[in-house]
Amino acid sequence: MLDFGFLKTVRPRHFLGQALIYLGTAAFIAWLSAHPTYTRLAPDQGVLKLSLTHAGQRAEPCHERTPEELAKLPPNMRAKMSCSRARLPVTLEMDLNGKTIFRETAAPAGLSKDGNSRFYHRYVLPAGAHRLAVRLRDGRGPAFDYTAERDVIVQPGKIMVIDFINDKGQFIFLGV
């Protein structure tokens, strides 16, 4: 049962005061919960996301265990091939209209350095035609192991993504 007896102790002025206080607070909450508007992208801009995860090649090549090496191992662990877990770092570069705007070498994730190297970068670009070139190196050699080059149209307000399909070993351009 609701008890409104407490209202008897309130002066009329205080009711008016409460109304004023609540009106002010409500206006403050209503305004700040949706205003001022935040504009983070101009109408003639689009977004390019360069993001991929890729494991570099093994830091040390696999080798076949000799019979002596196999004999030293417990019976359930006598795999013929011995491969180190560690991976090489991966280098990724991207050119925009002939100018290199991204160059980074990412170490493999994990305490044993056996995870993927990962990249995630966001660029705001002027809408319109651009030429993009990406290169990825996951081995020891000086040359890049995977490359792609493409003319793209950045749509205003849209997101374009450059990713890498590890199974196929190729870059993909989404939202082009």
């Binding site: 409460q18 409500a26 983070r40 995630y120 849209k158």
Partner: protein, 521 residues
């Protein structure tokens, strides 16, 4: 160290409180019940959230539509529930942030209060995480912006094998499991928030977790009206192929996102870390000497429990008797929690000045101002009274209007850490001994007491509503309480003038107590 900023903030709060007092009355002043209001808003948000959970769908294909149905199809109920959920959450941020600033301004975060302060820091993290994850659930363009931004921020640490923001990289990347996970997060983080809220107040005796009814109804109706007038709505549906460009941020929760857009993750983490560490260590940066904690004198303690019941910080507990005297319990002070307010001294039935100096002892005493010294101060004040009509002894505290500022012809003052320290027998002592014509007790405003409960217990003791009560023989018309904040010296002077006028009228009607000459010496 923080004095310049506190000196800036304190007058603002005091004036604001005075103004709101005048407008709504002290009983319904929200500034005195910020913690309780935060609890109240939490319950509103929890209740509406439970309801919203029922029609909410967690499939990525239907989640947005389900929120739209909630908002528009049954706007008069479900839509209002959604709006209450949002505005209640916003109100929580408002009360929390004002509460934090106010406690800082009034220097109520160090010493024995360190625990409440530092438990408030993770509370902030839980509060903001709860709010942000709630906005994700709508899965509109704003949710997309928050989800991607939050995970890009978290990914900076590189603690996950994969980049978590890649889950939102493009259309088709997001699966239904995300919203199932998200709803669990949005339920469990607020549960942790509630637990930490209770931990936050665990060291406080009689914490205010329920606002006064008038305030509760008023704020609830305010949120309800707001929900009808400005119902919460969504942005357009999320589309991972489109960049959220123009957003109506809820700035209560999202003020850091534009900072993230401009600064990037590393600088924002640095800012958050610096603020968090600063908040954590603030209680120990005060370099103030803590006053000595209250001490129990077992030879005077009969285990009556009044000090335990009255201590505002739960610093006095009752334990089994250790000295073999024929009482079941004895009081024990936890010096880490004790603020040395002296309220326990005022509550002790043995705190009486009607003894010779050699016998003057109490069951619980303040080393900084023992009962003997208090009596000496009272006697000295009575001696300072230089005659005149309607003489008054004023008891004041260290945090309200300086009682000494009232001193003058016919008025003498005694200042104690908290007015709640004054045992009622001292008032009896002054009046029955003819030491003064009246006693005025002043201190912080009830909602603003530095030691939380001083005015409340003093009023209750003087009116006889709480033990130890002022004895019946003391004429009540000669005792008055007048609470005022430090910025209200004129109000107190006016109260004093009115009190003395009343006392003078009593004298004139010849009901004044007979005066004794130096009988108190």
């Amino acid at each position: 160290m923080f004095k310049p900023l506190q000196s800036l903030l304190r007058p603002i709060f005091l004036r604001l409180e005075s103004g709101v007092d005048w407008l709504v009355g002290p009983g319904a002043n929200p500034l005195y019940h910020l913690g309780a209001l935060t609890f109240f808003f939490f319950w509103i948000v929890a209740a509406t959230g439970l309801y919203l959970f029922i029609p909410y769908e967690t499939s990525v294909a239907t989640v947005y539509q389900s929120v739209e149905k909630i908002t528009h199809e049954q706007w008069y109920f479900s839509g209002v529930m959604r709006s209450l959920h949002r505005y209640g959450s916003d109100a929580m941020v408002v009360t929390t942030m004002v509460h934090l600033t106010r406690e800082f301004a009034f220097d109520r975060f160090s010493g024995a209060r360190w625990f409440a302060w530092i438990t408030g820091v993770p509370l902030l993290a839980f509060l903001f995480t709860s709010g942000i994850t709630g906005y994700w659930l709508v899965w509109d363009m704003l949710a997309q912006y928050l989800a991607v931004g939050s995970l890009e921020w978290v990914d900076w640490f590189g603690i996950f094998g994969e980049s978590t923001a890649r889950n939102f990289l493009f259309r088709g990347f997001l699966t239904d499991r995300f919203f199932t996970l998200l709803i669990f997060i949005h339920i469990f983080v607020p549960l942790f928030l509630l637990i930490v809220m209770f931990v936050h107040i665990i060291r406080i005796s009689r914490p205010g977790v329920n606002p006064p009814k008038l305030l509760a109804w008023g704020t609830f109706l305010m949120l309800l009206a707001l929900s009808f007038v400005f119902p919460a709505t969504s942005h357009g549906p999320a589309d991972l192929g489109v960049e959220p460009a123009v957003l109506n941020l809820d700035w209560f929760y999202m003020f850091l996102y534009p900072v993230f857009d401009n600064w990037g993750p590393a600088k924002l983490w640095a800012l958050v870390a610096v603020v968090a560490v600063a908040l954590f260590v603030m209680p120990w940066l005060q370099f103030k000497k803590r006053p000595a904690a209250a001490e129990v004198h077992l030879d005077q303690c009969n285990g009556c429990t009044r000090c335990t019941l009255d201590c505002p910080f739960g610093a006095v507990v009752m334990i089994n008797r250790t000295d073999g005297r024929p009482f079941a319990r004895e009081a024990k002070v936890d010096p880490d929690i004790c603020t040395a307010c002296g309220i326990c001294v005022g509550s002790c039935p043995t705190s009486t000045p009607f003894r010779s100096a050699a016998q003057l002892a109490t069951g619980i005493d303040l080393p900084g101002l023992p009962l003997v010294a208090l009596k000496e101060k009272v006697v000295a004040a009575m001696d300072r009274l230089n005659g005149g009509p309607a003489t008054v002894i004023v008891f004041g505290c260290e945090h309200g209007v300086d009682a000494a500022s009232l001193e003058g012809e016919g008025v003498a003052s005694v200042t104690v850490p908290c007015t709640g320290m004054i045992p009622p027998p001292f008032v009896d002592f002054i009046l029955s001994d003819g030491g003064a014509d009246g006693v005025l007790l002043t201190g912080c405003r009830p909602g603003d007491c530095f030691h939380r409960l001083g005015p409340r217990w003093t009023d209750a003791r003087m009116t006889g509503a709480r033990e130890p009560a002022l004895r019946d023989r003391v004429p009540r018309e000669r005792v008055r309480t007048a609470w005022a904040s430090p910025d209200q010296p004129n109000k107190l002077k006016a109260e004093m003038a009115a009190f003395r006028a009343d006392l003078a009228a009593l004298e004139a009607s010849a009901v004044a107590p007979p005066k004794k000459e130096a009988a108190h010496a």
